[in-house]
Amino acid sequence: AQSVAQPEDQVNVAEGNPLTVKCTYSVSGNPYLFWYVQYPNRGLQFLLKYITGDNLVKGSYGFEAEFNKSQTSFHLKKPSALVSDSALYFCAVSQDSNYQLIWGAGTKLIIKP
């Protein structure tokens, strides 16, 4: 069965420091991987996705994610965190054989000034 794990409920980072939000997945075939962000009282916004090709994917707001097939991971990263990056981040996976998104439980990112 497909699944997504976000092992950290919350990540705390000081402003200006690099940040990483972790995601691992389990699928039977080739995955399509996504990151979404949810700001307070807002809907979900697409950040970036991996379909195929280059393992390093760049997305909105300076975020990037690295696909690691051997570790079945797709961690979200940013070189220098901003206070405005504070939000809830969701990792999700889908496949062509199952076009529904399987969602992680979310990680709350808190950036402190």
């Binding site: 399509y32 996504f34 809907g43 979900l44 697409f46 996705k49 379909i51 496949q95 062509d96 199952n98």
Partner: protein, 115 residues
Amino acid sequence: EAGVAQSPRYKIIEKRQSVAFWCNPISGHATLYWYQQILGQGPKLLIQFQNNGVVDDSQLPKDRFSAERLKGVDSTLKIQPAKLEDSAVYLCASTFDLAGYNEQFFGPGTRLTVL
């Protein structure tokens, strides 16, 4: 381009009452999703439409929830009667088609409080 529209943004009802939510997807998007999001959790898919047909409604509590997308464009989700545990944010999303690599575009959601 205009995003996914949802209304109302907030709704407060008492248990056993009925409520309806409306969604208008991005123009040209054939696939529409309704999700339920409990505070602090990931979205849970309730129902998925492709044009005006249902693709998956396996997690829709059909004794109280119903949804339709009659003309393949906008959609309504109804709860009748509501229970306390239905308090959540109801998100509508759309995407161009069923391909798994398409990102979903979300509306702002409707926050439902059942008293």
